[in-house]
Homo-oligomer: 348 residues x 2
């Protein structure tokens, strides 16, 4: 005898399954609730019946009563940076595997997430993950009231990342990375260094800048020249032009992310005719896929996106049961040397 899908009503409910299996609705509910007590054979019967009828628990009803939805809110800022695209894709996959849904919203401008975030919170989301988005106090406050834990990705609350407060964060080791870049550039015998910064409010930028500048100071170098590229291609092109037009043109530029470094390469090469890697060194941060393309061969500091995403998912899961188990995680990366920076002079 073949068990076929029966011609079910448009929407199958616990009732239908209960009747068909000759049990109570509660039994059906319990069959779909992992921890609940139900005899094995009954559970089996119910699952089979449900299956035959094409029943699936309605997550809306479930969320309504449980006060929790299995949905994770994910806010993205600017997806122009491939690093965040990669992260988003990883995050999406991993959350799906953890049986969590993703509710996506854009928060293009810093703090511009405000209007829709309140709406998202109403869905009783389990957590809010912010990619490349800053935190406003109003947002923090709203989340606190709604008891929705926040996980920042690639950002910290305060630039100086003190003890975990009531938001979590997962970041790369920006200071160490920037110091590694600085050391590498100094190894190439560069004398006039420059830094192209991201946005001012970004903790990530602050840390990368501090790491870079501090290392130079420790080695007895003057502070680098500084221009702002706001983490985007166009502004970084303009910033590079300003740097390269100076009488004291820098001989090495560290950009706070790869997108800006690619812009710097483009300008140096195509507008100033410079041989990047010989006449000038350029380094970025993130190690996006494009950095490895032969036409760029950008020296960069790689961020372990996969690992960082794993930590985010782990945190999200943990926060689901213990809402205040906040952590501040720092994931180490590694320097990837390619052709855009002059190799270190080997000691004789």
């Amino acid at each position: 005898m073949i068990t076929e899908r029966e011609p079910a009503p448009p929407t199958v409910t616990v009732h239908d399954v209960a009747r068909a299996a000759g049990v109570s609705q509660s039994a059906v509910s319990r069959a779909f609730t992992p921890g609940s007590s139900l005899s094995a054979d009954k559970r089996e019967l119910i699952i089979a019946t449900a299956d035959r009828l094409g029943y699936r628990p309605n997550p809306l009803a479930r969320s309504l009563i449980r006060g929790r939805s299995n949905i994770i809110g994910v806010g993205v800022g600017n997806l122009a940076n491939p690093f965040f695209v990669q992260t988003l894709q990883l995050l999406c996959d991993r959350l799906e595997k953890a049986n969590l849904r993703v509710m996506l919203f854009s928060a293009a401008s810093e703090g511009g997430a405000e209007p829709s975030i309140a709406e998202i919170l109403q869905y009783r989301i389990d957590a809010l993950v912010l990619l490349s988005v800053g935190l406003t106090s109003r947002l923090t406050e709203e989340c606190r009231r709604a008891k929705v834990p926040i996980v920042l990705y690639n950002r910290t609350t305060s630039p100086l990342a003190g003890a975990p407060q009531d938001v979590s964060c997962v970041v790369g080791d920006n200071r160490t990375g920037a110091r590694a870049i600085a050391a590498h550039l100094l190894g190439g015998q560069h004398k006039r260094l420059a830094f192209i910064a991201g946005t001012a409010e970004s903790s990530t930028n602050a840390q990368r800048e501090a790491g870079f500048t501090d290392y130079l100071a420790e080695q007895g170098f003057a502070p680098p020249l500084r221009e702002s590229g706001h983490f985007n291609f166009e502004d970084a092109m303009a910033a590079t032009r300003r740097l390269l037009l100076r009488p004291d043109r820098p001989d090495a530029i560290f950009c706070a992310n790869d997108t800006m470094a690619l812009a710097a390469i483009t300008v140096a090469r195509h507008e100033f005719g410079l041989d990047v890697g010989r006449e000038i060194s350029i380094a970025g941060y993130d190690d996006v896929p494009m950095a490895a393309w032969p036409c760029f061969a950008l020296t960069s500091y790689s961020q372990p996106a996969a690992q960082m995403v794993s930590e985010v998912v782990r945190l999200v899961q943990a926060l689901r049961t213990v809402p205040d188990a906040h952590e501040a995680l720092v994931c180490p990366g590694n320097l990837v040397v390619r052709g855009t920076t002059r190799p270190p002079r080997v000691a004789p």
Copy 2:
């Protein structure tokens, strides 16, 4: 007297507002339901009270009863192509503005969306938008049963896009675009043309290939050489190598998207030392932001992402009220000539 937010209970419901405003719960509900009949002053009073109490309707409860959630399911395939990233960001913004939520899921491999899609459908989503994802018959069937309309982006159901069936689609004018590219390449006096294809099942690839090949045939040219790049960078690099190693090396390559064209440029230039734009012409499709970068200056056919997304949103809205108002929309683009293709010989 200042109206302050009162120390509200953790979750404010219609009841609380009703009591505070001295009206019934239904009145409160109506105040938040646009079309319902309620006296203006009562509505005003209720809104004010709700506001003071910090009340917001619970979308979960609302969706449960209405059988519709204001959520749009969005499935993304491979985000390696910036065209889809751009689209996703636009889509996200526009849907937010239309007061619709986005539930994101990944469908990395063709037809790999299957497991989680059933789960998403349970949320009684208003529509399913598929970016760069093919449609399997099982998926179609499941959506039909759940009465969830499907909108395909940049894909059609059957490669030959007959009359609209029970899925909608919004696509670029691939045939025309590919013909324009072909005409442009022939104008540059190229004789041995090649095509680097995307994936076989993609209607987009089929249309671009057909447009290209047909035009060549019409002009009395032999069919182009053909290699598969599967729409991705690495495979396209390999495909380009195979083409350029042939004794009858092509003098012009049309790639089914920009990502592959960038790969082709990279290989031609860095592995074969070719002067792209003089010794060989390369053209892509989509006109992603990178195509305009000076280091590439890729000739491409621009797809109007913003307009296509607007159409998607319009369709989604229409389908919300009339679930079978399906359409098949074709948005025209335009040729963008840059440096990677030899300019047409001007008639003397």
